[in-house]
Symmetry: C3
Subunit: 206 residues, 3 copies
């Protein structure tokens, strides 16, 4: 069964993917396919890395139903949805936090060591959005933006630390997800930017 956090994460990533598809003027099928790819992609990558085959997202129907329903709602109501400024970014941040931490917890459950669980959790969080951006021919957010992979890694580390200290998984994961989402939103809101390469030679010369 899906946990509540997983459902919210699925809906957030499905919304970010389908909003991005609406903005790229895809038709209703493209919107659903991109919403599903964004929502299910991270978890499928996680399961392939962990050797869980076939991946959970292809075995349990709630994944598909939640993802597709969210995409259709976005398609139907997008003028309302997209009026919310930065809606894609906020949905993406929410999905990032929930998937990075849930992915870490899943990896720990399967007996993966903490170091590996952190990296797989971070990949779970980053994967769906990277697929979304690749399919729309955009340089992925994870490469372009302020604190992104680092926020996911932060949440993953908190989950691993809580696991090492034998704290209860549920609350720790929820807190870790909240920290990731907040870190990411703060980075967007305050425009925290990482240093750019020094000027001079950073021109694309081929």
């Amino acid at each position: 069964m899906l946990t509540v956090l997983e459902i919210v994460g699925l809906m957030a990533f499905a919304a970010s993917g389908s909003l991005a598809a609406v903005r790229a003027e895809l038709d209703v099928f493209g919107v659903v396919v991109l919403g599903l790819t964004t929502a299910l992609g991270g978890g499928i990558i996680r399961d392939v890395l962990l050797g869980v085959q076939p991946p959970a997202a292809l075995v349990s129907w709630p994944y598909l139903v939640v993802g597709a329903a969210t995409a259709l709602v976005v398609f139907a109501f997008h003028p309302l949805v997209s009026r919310l400024r930065k809606a894609v970014l906020v949905a993406d941040a929410t999905g990032l936090g929930l998937f990075a931490t849930a992915g870490t917890a899943t990896a720990l459950d399967l007996g993966t060591p903490g170091y590996t669980a952190c990296l797989i959790g971070m990949t779970t969080g980053i994967g769906g959005g990277a697929l979304r951006d690749l399919l729309l021919r955009q340089i992925p957010l994870v490469l372009r933006r302020e604190i992104y992979a680092l926020a996911a890694l932060l949440g993953a580390v908190i989950v691993v630390a809580g696991h090492a200290l034998h704290w209860p998984t549920g609350p720790v994961t929820a807190v870790a997800a909240a920290v990731t989402v907040l870190a990411r939103l703060l980075a967007i809101w305050r425009g925290w930017n990482a240093p750019l390469p020094r000027a001079g030679s950073n021109r694309l010369e081929r």
Copy 2:
């Protein structure tokens, strides 16, 4: 051993990939690599999702030989081949139908439940073409075009239904493939378009 349907599917996808490479003015190596990626990509994704490792396409040499030979023929004779209008689209539709249904049958053979087999079959059909388009920096057909993923899903559902009714696999798969190809070609020919997002806010605003 490869079945006849698999060989035809391989040739169709290899042709679609190498034609797309010729049109992008790649050299002979690029044409062969893209033809092979398109032909073998869907099956490799299927095997990774099912836990068949190493994937069949990397174990049996006929896959490579059929794919590379088709790409070389396209490279040598492309002025003839590409004169056929929409040649890439027709080859792509044929590969889509054959791979989606063969992928579903393979998944069922391995004991996968019907729901999962449908999704993995659909992914098998879509995967090669999506890789081809990604590598050429185009938004994948599956996101852009009329009935595409839906045609693949239709064929997959027919295979699963036939399996549930204990009908013979070979003929059912052939019929399901034909239905998928026809649905896809009809959608291209009649220009069946899915609804677009309502105007107003579907502009790319960043």
Copy 3:
């Protein structure tokens, strides 16, 4: 433990990825993420194809440390690094040779037949650079350039031949890697070009 050749290959691919990121004007996080993806991507693809889950690159910390440290050095000193003309191409060629041959040796170690080991080794060599180019929205080198996949395949075949003749793995792999790197650099230096499609119909007509 990592062998010396693997470390050099990691550093070469991490340098090629982070240099490409610097030239695309990504910030320091983007540079590190792209350097790591390029350095670890080929090995992760290899392990997923072979069923080694979780992949070695996510289990042993030296992979991450070597990759990230190289990317940070490139970020800090890139005006020096990028003054070396074709620095990305040379680093990429070095990584290609080391990863294709090490990937082949790893596959043989796991009992994979020679044919499969060649293809998986070639994919290991090609994979990281292809991910780098995809993420930066460029048509991958493997599709665009002179001898590339063929150089990787050449190295892989030498490793398999040495294995069949029971020659010692270490020296054979080193020689095979050197042959691949030399073939690739010669192809760049001498501008060896593969035949292009005949003119006339190779225009992108949609």
